[in-house]
Structure formats: structure tokens, C-alpha cells
Symmetry: D2
Subunit: 348 residues, 4 copies
């Protein structure tokens, strides 16, 4: 079979460059088109010199007709609401799309409108979209026209919690998620909080009790639980480039050892190539999944307080964005799901 023709709309952010890095090494695809408003007319390898010698393609201004005619498969990496319009056009042209925005992640438009303070731009398409977390949703992804690539925080939180929601002896009504993220998660658009001198050598919480990834986490956990769940979610900004660590606190409803909890997770993720459950006594550090599609999970029971602490680590640009997007592409295009994603994490 010939190579799948791929386009990347909004290619000059960090998710874009990471995706291109993977696509140029993927044996089954050819990158046919990259678009950028800021850098239109410039070669993508002059925008990202890291790509010199690996790809030579001029950034085009976005024209969905042209994208549709040049490509079979399109990744859309645009801000929410802008994304939906482009996705809508592309789906109309019969294309399959992996969308990095939040537009098709929430299946309840009321929830979307509450958290994003804007009318949903394409409610009629929600039925054709799947939430792109393959470990929990593989079959729906296969059939979807639109794969809503999950947010970085939700990926780390949902994978860490899924086994408990389904099988765990925990109080699912009281979940606390304390997440720490590297700065690349905020994107490439310059702003004072991401200015080096402001965020270097500092830690802070932000958007406490208000972060837009909250409803996304709740939706997927609620689906697993079969009832509406709420979570406390606190993101923090830490001065690293890549990585999210989520430390999650739950109350055990029955006595369990750490070993038993580890076993439960091992079993749950037994056949998943990209979830690594750590042995008892080991907890993940973000550096161990850097530049990879892995989600690493560790567990610890605090017998003194009856709490279970779950720690998950991902690369926010890896499993939290571009690598997972490629995993979704592999699924919908019929490639081996691990194609182009088997590299060992970069340590150190």
C-alpha cells in the first residue's frame, strides 16, 4: 500500500514540532502539508532548525480545501473553537481527523459552554467524535471520524484512576489530583508566566478549582463509574520543559496492601503496551517517560491514614499530546498501534 498522506494544521507549536518529529520517522506516512499563520511562506525547518535535513516543506496559510485535497489524514492543532470549524470542514470532505483541541472532548455541550464560556461551535459533530484515550476507548476510536486527542493532565489522571474506578476498593466520591506540569504544556505563545525569568526556580499552583481539564477528567471517570463524579484538580507549574506528575489521593474502603493494589493495576493494564505499572517500592519520575508514549504508574498505601496514593508520570508532549495523537492515527489508519512509538524514553 502507498503511504498515507498526512497534513498538520497549526504545525508550529510544540505539539506540532513533536508530531512532525515522529511523522518523518514513521514508515507508513508522508507529510504532505503543514500550515501556520505566523510562519506561512517559511520552510518548517527554518522555523525549527532541529528538523533541518529531515523535512523540507513550506508552511502554507490554512486553506481547508487544499488540505483536504492533499491529505488523507489530518492533525489539527489549533485553539478551541477555531479547531472545530476546520475539523468540521475536513470531516465534510470525508477526511479523518485527530484534533488536539478541547472542542470534541466533552460530549455535553452545556459542560463545554460552562467551562469555556463560549457556544459550542459544532454540536452536530459530537456524535462522530471519540475521546482518544486508546487504553479505555480503542473500539470507539476505530470507528470515529474525529478523534479528540485528550488533554495532557486528563491523560495522566484518567489512566492513573481507571483501574480504581472499575475495580478499586476506594471512595470514588472523594478524589484529589495534585498535578505538576512542565512549561511546554502552556504552548509556544509567549506570555509573562512562561517567561524564563518568571517561572525558572519557582513553583506555583494555578487555576485552582477552575482548570478546564477538570470536566474532561470527570466525564471519563464518570463514564467508567456509571455515575456522576467530581474531582479536586490542582495544576502546578514547575520549571522543567516536559513532564507531568500527578499525585492522586483516595480513601480505601477496605484494607489493602500496596502489593495488592499493584497487582490490580498490573492486571488491568496487562495488555497495554504504553502503560507501565511499577513494582511495589518504586514510583515514577517524569524523566523516565520523557520523549515517549509511556504512562508510568506507581502506588503506595498509607496504612496510618487509610489512604491510597497513586502517582502517574507522562511526557505532556508525549503520551499527553503528540505521541498519543500518533497512536490514535495508527488505530484509525490501520497501522500497528505501536508503529513509530517504540523508542525508549530519553534519560537523562
Amino acid at each position: 500500500m502507498g503511504k498515507v498522506k498526512v497534513g498538520v494544521v497549526g504545525a508550529t507549536g510544540y505539539t506540532g514540532v513533536e508530531l512532525l518529529r515522529l511523522l518523518v520517522a514513521h514508515p507508513g506516512v508522508a507529510v504532505e502539508m503543514v500550515t501556520s499563520e505566523t510562519y506561512s511562506g517559511r520552510d518548517i525547518a527554518s522555523v525549527f532548525p532541529s528538523l533541518q535535513g529531515l523535512i523540507s516543506l513550506r508552511c502554507a496559510k490554512l486553506d481547508t480545501k487544499e488540505v483536504a485535497s492533499a491529505c488523507d489524514q489530518v492533525f489539527v492543532a489549533l485553539p478551541h473553537t477555531e479547531a472545530a470549524k476546520v475539523v468540521s470542514d475536513l470531516v465534510q470532505e470525508g477526511k479523518r481527523v485527530v484534533d488536539f483541541s478541547a472542542d470534541f472532548r466533552l460530549n455535553d455541550t452545556a459542560v463545554y459552554e460552562e467551562w469555556y464560556s463560549v457556544r459550542h461551535p459544532a454540536p452536530e459533530l459530537l456524535g462522530r467524535a471519540a475521546y482518544g484515550l486508546p487504553e479505555l476507548n480503542r473500539e470507539e476510536i476505530k470507528k470515529a471520524d474525529i478523534v479528540a486527542n485528550p488533554g495532557c493532565y486528563p491523560t495522566s489522571a484518567i489512566l492513573a484512576l481507571a483501574p480504581l474506578i472499575e475495580k478499586g476498593p476506594v471512595d470514588v466520591e472523594d478524589i484529589i489530583i495534585d498535578s505538576k506540569s512542565g512549561v511546554s504544556g502552556a504552548g509556544r505563545k509567549v506570555a509573562l508566566p512562561q517567561h524564563f525569568t518568571e517561572c525558572n526556580e519557582s513553583v506555583k499552583a494555578y487555576s485552582v478549582a477552575e482548570h478546564r481539564h477538570t470536566p474532561e477528567i470527570e466525564q471519563e471517570l464518570s463514564r467508567l463509574a456509571g455515575k456522576q463524579l467530581r474531582v479536586v484538580f490542582t495544576p502546578h507549574l514547575i520549571p522543567i520543559t516536559r513532564g507531568i506528575l500527578s499525585t492522586i489521593y483516595l480513601s480505601l474502603t477496605e484494607d489493602r496492601t500496596t502489593g495488592e493494589m499493584v497487582d490490580l493495576y498490573h492486571e488491568f493494564y496487562e495488555n497495554e503496551p504504553f502503560v507501565r505499572v511499577r513494582e511495589e517500592g518504586e514510583l515514577p519520575a517524569t524523566a523516565e517517560s520523557r520523549a515517549s508514549n509511556y504512562c508510568d504508574i506507581g502506588l503506595k498505601v498509607d496504612h496510618r491514614t487509610g489512604k491510597l496514593i497513586v502517582v502517574s508520570a507522562i511526557d505532556n508532549l508525549g503520551k499527553g499530546a503528540s505521541w498519543q495523537a500518533l497512536q490514535n492515527m495508527n488505530i484509525i489508519c490501520g497501522f500497528d498501534e505501536t508503529e513509530g512509538l517504540r523508542a525508549a524514553p530519553l534519560f537523562p
Copy 2:
């Protein structure tokens, strides 16, 4: 009055150099002796070139008799158990001591022995020691022969929780403390986890459910509560030099707005020069208290889940160690409590 003659036992760690930095600028003291086993015979300013031109003093091998004869006031910055022996000798000689170790922080030897897995080296002295958190314990510190300078994590956690334990409409039986610390907190002794290449660009949790600062936090909160409390405490290592951010989760037992909770804190710390409560809508970043004696506290009610989130920030070598030690010295020596501690934090 003449200057108070000061000695620093174990001066060549990070708490030592930070303390010396403050002492050389303090108008009421003269540093008479510094000791170090590793660097004995070397000038302290060749060990720490930052101090060149500011102090010239040869590191002595520790001889408690000599320390006692040269100094009125001694800081002891040694590992636990070693510290107790030296403190014991110094107290016997009639000296007042600020001790950086854990040896005199826990007033129940059984708890000490459980968490430190060693027999308490000087139980007979516990009655003469005070826990050196001036905001909660000023009067006892004044009268004590030994001030047990608090741990860095406990300082950040206890100050953040004290107003709630005394007055807050929260469930004090269910407290979750998620702390993020810079690497200097681990000290100057080289070890793989603090090797630059290992911890740079990474985050991890460590000593989960087992960290030795847990009983210290519990002791002080229990004292305030008038009953035995337990907390979940999870420390994390993040790649910054200085700073601890503690994010604390509690369930409100009555409805409160963020503004009401901020008011409660303002009132509680009204007369405290080194606790800064942030206005509603603001949360502290560690960079804002770097190189200072401040503890900054911010609050947020999550109405969706009924949780209160408290965030506190300190410099682990500042309010979390050497600056607080100097505050304690000011108290026991009769100086203005803020003497030598009024500098604005270093930002950026």
C-alpha cells in the same frame, strides 16, 4: 552591650553558609567559631567563596569545650543523634542552643524512636527544649535552653494549617499535604538522587507515607487541636535550588467563601511580621519568598467539591531553616525579633 558571641557547629552545609551570610550582617552578634569535620583547617571563605571579604575564620574540628568557652550562643547543624550529644554538652556548660536537627523536635521519645529507628540520645533534655516556631510558640522559646529549629516541610505545613486547626470549619481528621521542595533541602552531601543529571528536568514523589517530618507536623497540629491528628504527607523533589510549596486539601464542614477564609487567616496572623496572607485571587509562588523569612499563604474554596485548598510557600533555607534559626536566636537573646531578617525576598 557588647556583641553576642556566636558559634556555628557544622558550618559547611547549606544551612551553615546561609546562617553565616545572615550572621555577618547582624549588628548584634560576632561569629567567633565555626566547626567542620570535612573542612577543618580551611578558611570558611575558601570553602564558600561567596563569603570572601565578609568573614575570615578557620574551620575548627569540633571540641565542645572550646565552643562553649568562645561562644555565648551556639547553632548546631549536625545530623540527628550526633546533634543531641553536642547540644547536651553545650547546655551543660550553660549555653543556649538553636539546634537544626530533629533530636529535640519530638517530645515523645517513642515517636522519635519509631520514625528514626534509633534510641533517643538525650531524653532527659526534652523538658528544656521548645519547638522553634515563633508564630505558635514564642513564649516557650523565650524560656527554653534548647530551641529545636523546625523542619522545612513542617514549617510550611504547620503555618498553613494552624488557623484552621484553631478556628476553621474543616474536618481536621482528613488532611492531605502535598509538598514540592527544591534540592537544597537534601543538604550538601552528594548522593545520586541529588546529582544534577538525575534530578534536573524531572519531578518525583519520595518517601511517600514514610517521611520523618510527618510526626513533627502531627505533633504540632495535635497540640493545637487538643487531640491526636494524623496527616497524609507527600514530599516531592523538583529541580529548583530553594523553595517549598505545600498544597493542602481539607473538607469544609460549613459553607465558606474564599474571602471569608482569607479574612480568618489575616486575623490569625495579624501581628506576625513573617507571615503574609495573600488576598483572594492570589496564590504564592516560591520565588516570591526566596532568600527571606516569609511564609506566604494563599487560599481557595472549591465550591463544587466542598474542599478548601491552602497553598503555602517558603524558602527551605529561609523560614524553613537558617532565617528561622536566626529569628529564634533573636528571641532568646533579646534582640528585636526581626533584626537581620528584614531583607526583601530575591526576585527574580
Copy 3:
């Protein structure tokens, strides 16, 4: 005598906040006015929470008449050309000014216009301005109406080279200056090269052979040499917040040992409180002068090649900007030159 009334024009950049940090601790001054276009109307301590509890002053929009009527002494921290206009007005009102911009550093308007590509905004004032490097220019500073506070790179380079230009057995016609700077040197205005994710974990050279600090270095060295000198100057951006290290290469014209060169420097800077010459075998690291007014200098002769290597380290916001500005203020206001500047550097 009453306190000197001080104003800071353009107070909300990094040099502004660092200067305010020093001014609030200086016993001889009172900060009467701070201006900011971006943050006018806001309390300076809400712009920089590090200052909370230490200063409470609303940022004013700039009105030079008001500044002149409220203040005796003014610091101007504005972009070049804007600065000159404000300085001009203030001088007209009889104020003494320390100016952070480049406008009054170059005494040859042709050189200014060549490097800054703009007409000099106030050539008539150049005769009333002094280049504010006290170690080389103290007497002129005392008499000047305008002190042109030196650039950060020039401070590190000129102090490292001055003893050689005056007395050194080196070829002054062939000087190579390779400088490495922290990111705060680029200021607080957001831009892609200073975005955390772009500059973290990376090093690069920039403005090679074109940096505007070049003529400033050449002017001062030429003045010392009594003839026109040219230098090669290459700045680099490294991912630290504060600090400049300049590594300088010269050819020895006569045989000398490292010890002899160290002696020459010791002698040259014998009475200077803020230059620390390291002993043979020691070279400075930037962390050792962080948050201070020190310039640390180390030397090494490479006998194999006949080269002398000089290494100097400063804090770009310290001796490279705000601390030196305060030193200049001390001089022109008649304070002890070290007043408010005696703190030990912050290590770690």
C-alpha cells in the same frame, strides 16, 4: 539630615524590582515615587508580590514634573532614546539622575548613532554625564549630573581588563571576550528567545560581532589605553536567571606566571570593596556573586600557548545593573559608598 527622596522611573522591570529591594533597606533614602506605563494605578507590591509588606506605593504614569517635585534623586530605567528625554527634563529641573539606558554611555554621538541606528536624542548633555563604573571613574561620577550606569556585559569585561590595559604585558590589540549571560539580562518584556521552553536546556551565541555593548567596552578600554582599541565580543544566552561569566583571552607579550598576574590584579584593586581577585588556582563561578555588588576575577596563564585567560563573574542585576546604580547613588549623594550593598552573595 533627612532622608534623600528617591524616584524610580520605569520601576516594573527586573532592574526596577531589584533596585527597590535595595532601596527599601537603605537607611538614607525614602522611595517617594515609582512609575510604570504598563502597571500604572496598581500597587507595586501587587506587581511584585515579593515586596509585599515592605513597600506600598502605587505605580504612577510618568510625569517628569511630578517626579521632579517629589524626588531629589531619580533612577531612570527606560529604553534608550525614551530615557534621554526624561533625563533631559529631570536635569533641567536640577535633579541628579542615574540612568540605566545606553543614552549617555557613549560620548561620541557618531558611535552611538552607528550602533543604535538612531539620532542621539540629547547630545548637548553628554558633557554633564559620567560613565558610572566607580572603580575607574569615581571622581567624574562625583561631579556629574547624569551617571550613565554601565551595561552588564561591559561591567564584567572592563573590570576584568582594566589592570591589563594599564599595566599588563599583553597585546591589547587582540582581545577576545566570550561572555555567558543569564536570561534576566534580556529584561521582562516577553519574547520567544526568552520563553522558558525555548531557552531552557540550551545554550547559544547571539548578536555575534554586532552586540551594542561592544562600543561601550571599546570606549572605556581605549580611554585607559590612550589609543583606539577594538575587541571581539561574543555574548551567549544560558539558562540561569542571574549571572554573567566573561572568559577573556589575550596574548602575553612577556613571560609571566599566573601568580604574578594575580598579584598585579590584587594591587590594582587593592582598595576596591567590590572587586574580589581570586587566589591562584581558583576561578569564580557566577553563583558566588549572585545578589551582590561583587565582581569576582580569576586568572590563568596557559604557558603552552602564551595566552592569559581572565575570567570575571558578576550578577547582571547586581554589579551589572541595580547594585552598581545604588553604588553610584551613594557616591553622588555623599553616602558611604558601600551603604546598602554589604550583603553577602546568596549561595546557593
Copy 4:
């Protein structure tokens, strides 16, 4: 053909883990044995959790006979002198070896003994060793039994200078190399200078005029020049994990534009897959070659001073160590030279 059986002696340093990361993805090899004294008996994936799920192999204590019987091709990553003994045994067994140490890099034992202060452990083998810089030495590498993998600094310096030595209008008698290295270059053995708190937020020069990579640079440049050359080489430590930037200064002997110099480099490296010469106006940052085998080179003529400035960037664990080692293995094993090395650099 079957897979080449590969062994890694000394696998638990940073060059080891990076090499394993590449080897597990290389289609032509199978890793049969890894040795480690420190971690013998432990699974390599428990030493480096980043490798979990990708390789499962117990670290063996080194036994050269066993290595020789299990492997066709061996990488030796041991300290100098230890390395030579092991290499010697392996060569005797007919194995081909890529050696990471300095033992076979210098072909003059007198030079080795002068800089390493130790007798050369295997002078008789020098004739069978080639200096493993493929761009300059490909044919010799093909025929060698031992490939001496170059030092990280020499790789960056020699590739940046080679075109000039062969063809450049520069004074090759006066070369200044100012290099800035990430901390991983110092290896995984803990030591105070690489302790996070010591080197974070600081820059310093070290081993000035004494670094052991100097004779290696001089040897290769002298070979190209056909006469003995000396260089000034100054390494600096900067707080990043990976990357070396070398800024090199030379005097032009004839007038040249930057464009002409760029052309000369383009021509020289025309057929080299791993050297990327930047267009005029662009200079490399280390982040652009992170986690790759690229050496990026940029140039700038300073017409005011007649100097040429060459800037080269590599990943010290990439082209500076493990990736180049794999390139050498590809050459001696007859693989496509770029096999397993085509990944795009990791940015950000």
C-alpha cells in the same frame, strides 16, 4: 544475516543507558550482555526505569571471556587504563571493539602519559586502533580492530575546525576554543561539582589550560595541518543536562565574507549526513541537536577585527558519545552508516 550480538561493558553510566536506548531500536543487533560492577545482579531496567518494557537483561560482573563468548561486537565504557586492559583481552579474542575511553585516542604514548600521568597500558595495540570520527577518518575506522570513540569536546571542536585547517584562509597557529558543556558530560559518578545545588544557576570555567581533551584536539588538527598545532581550550560547566556549544575564534589571513565561509563549509561537509552547516545569519543552539547524531555549525566573520567565529553544537551524549559510537559500529559491522541514527533531534 542474523543479528549482530552486542555487549556493553560498563553499561550503567549515562553513555551506557543512551547506547542501550539506541541499540534496542537498531534492527541489526541484539544486546546479549551488559556489565556493571556497581549494579551486578540487578536488571538493567531496574537501574534505568526508562528502559522498562524495552530490555530485560541482568547486569553481569565483568568477565571478558564471557563477554567474548557471548558477543561479536563490544562497546567498552570504562575509565581510562581499566578500559585498555579489557579492550586488550577482547581484541585478543578476535572481537571488534568501540572504546569510549581515552586509552586509544592518542597515538603518541608520550603525550598520553604527560596528560594522564600514567603509563600507557597497551601501547602495542595503538597500531590497530583508529580515531573514531567518521567524517575525517572513515576508511581507517573500517579497517581497525579498535575504534577509539572521540571525546565530546574534541568532536565539537575538530568538526568545527576541520574545513579551515584543510582549506581556510586562517592563522591555524592561533586557535581559541571556548566550550560550554552540560553536566551529563561529567558522568554519573556523584561529586560535589555536579551536585544539583552546586552547579544549578551557575556557570564556571574549569580545568583551564589543563583539560585532557586538549591533546586529542591538537592531534587531529595537526594531522590535518601536516604540522604540530596548539590550541587554547577552555571548558565551562553550565546547568543543562545535555549539549556542548563550542565558540571558536580565528584570525582570517585574507578577507572573506560570512557567505563565502559558509560555502566552504557546505562544500566540505556536502556528503556528510550528520553535519549540518547553517545558512548565513543562523547560528546553532544546543537544543536543536539534542538527542541526535548531528553536529550543527554556524559561522560569522567579524569584519571590524578580522576574526572568524565558528560555533558548533552537539549533544555530548549524542554525536559526542553514544550516537557516534553506534555510527562507528555501523561502519565496522557493515550496516548503513545512518542505521538507528536517523531520529530528529528532540526539541523542545
